[in-house]
């Protein structure tokens, strides 16, 4: 699904990734852990094509569709939760079904018509996750998706995400600080 060869990235003179190589198999879930500032989010941004590597290569299949749950929820503030989900869907006939399914998966069905500023921090994070699920990519990039959630919800969402990723026959890279999240969700853990 994904092959990274000798990847390096620097912010000016500060090197955050240095000759990283890894392979992600189809259907595999990889957890990336490491200290703050070690380049975990940068790695996801590089894979998503939002940054250009200083050196090295990222090989992705041409038909890849990336479902990205960013570290911040990044919802459009002028759209309701359901409109935010619809915004990333093409006008497919099953859009309504996908939105309803994704919101139910993260227990946000009741908040569908609310605006982001009417939601708590945790609900915003879940809405961002719902958007990634609704989009139905074949590569999930999840940047600390449970950061604003309590223990109980984290455990529940770990199960939900694992189920959704497998149901979509997708691969995933999840950045997390919590070893318990990594163990519950991932098939493999990479320490940066």
């Amino acid at each position: 699904m994904l092959e990274i060869q000798d990847l390096s990235f620097s912010y000016g003179k500060k090197k955050v990734l240095d000759h990283l190589s890894l392979t992600l198999q189809s259907g595999e879930i990889l957890a990336v852990m490491g200290a703050s500032g070690c380049g975990k989010s940068t790695l996801l941004n590089l894979i998503a094509g939002l940054r250009k590597p200083t050196a090295g290569r990222i090989l992705l299949p041409k038909e890849v569709r990336i479902s990205y749950a960013f570290q911040e929820p990044r919802l459009f503030p002028w759209l309701t939760v359901s409109e935010n989900l619809r915004a990333v869907l093409t006008d497919r006939e099953d859009a309504d079904h996908r939105i309803a399914h994704a919101l139910a998966a993260v227990s946000l069905s009741d908040a569908a018509e609310l605006y982001p500023d009417e939601l708590s921090g945790g609900m915003n994070s879940r809405a961002s996750l719902a958007r990634a699920i609704a989009y139905g990519g074949n590569l999930f990039l999840l940047d600390e998706p449970f950061a604003a959630l309590n223990e109980e919800l984290r455990a529940e969402l770990c199960q939900v995400l694992r189920r959704e990723i497998h149901a979509a026959n997708a691969s995933a890279i999840i950045v997390t600080h919590q070893l318990s999240d990594a163990e519950a969700l991932a098939d493999r853990i990479l320490k940066l």
Binding site: Y68, R74, F76, P77
Partner: protein, 253 residues
Amino acid sequence: MKILRRILRILLIAAFWIGVWAFASWRVGKPLLLPSPAAVAARLWELMQTAEFYRTALNSLWNIVTGILIAVLGGSLLAVLTSRIKLLREVLLPIMTVIKTTPVASFIILALIWIGAARVPTFITVLIVLPVVWTNLDEGFARIDPLLSEVARVYQMPFFKRLRILILPSLKPYFLAACRTSLGLAWKAGIAAEIIAMPRAHIGTMIGEGKLYLMTEDMFAWTLTVILLSLVIEFSFAAIWKRLDRKTPRKEA
């Protein structure tokens, strides 16, 4: 009830200022310098009985509204181009600064020589409003949230969807501010242009003639007409905007 109270409040404030005007006129005691509100209202009523009044008002209204529309369209188009082509922005910036800082009277006199009296008011309105629209929208484009742009990019939103979901809602407050500022400026610049250029049957021409022939009541009556027309345009704009806003996202960035 809330609306009635608001109307009453506006009427009371208006009555206060008309009272100040009436008092000042009584104290000066020379209608040639400062006519009373009653005399001006009577003269305006007299003017309103003639077909010429409406023709004159419509001529000015047409010039200024046309100028605003051309400026808004032109300014928006330029802002789109400068958001894409940075070099064009650098090329345009000095000329926009020159236009904004040069006295409007200088442009009016030059335009009078170049294009003749009839076209001067519209031309001047465009010249004064366009930089305001461009500057606001250029700022709006620069302030589109890069994090939301990344969301649009990652989720491969097609251009028209990106326009509808991200760009237009982000620009909305900047466009609104530009339009509000432009409406006031357009009337000031357009009428000033008419006073100097004196095209036939325009409000500014009537104000200019009022000054020439010391018809102070006429000057005040026509100025009052400008204020009323300007308010009508502003309220119409606010109403249209409110209507459109109901169909577009309610929240701003």
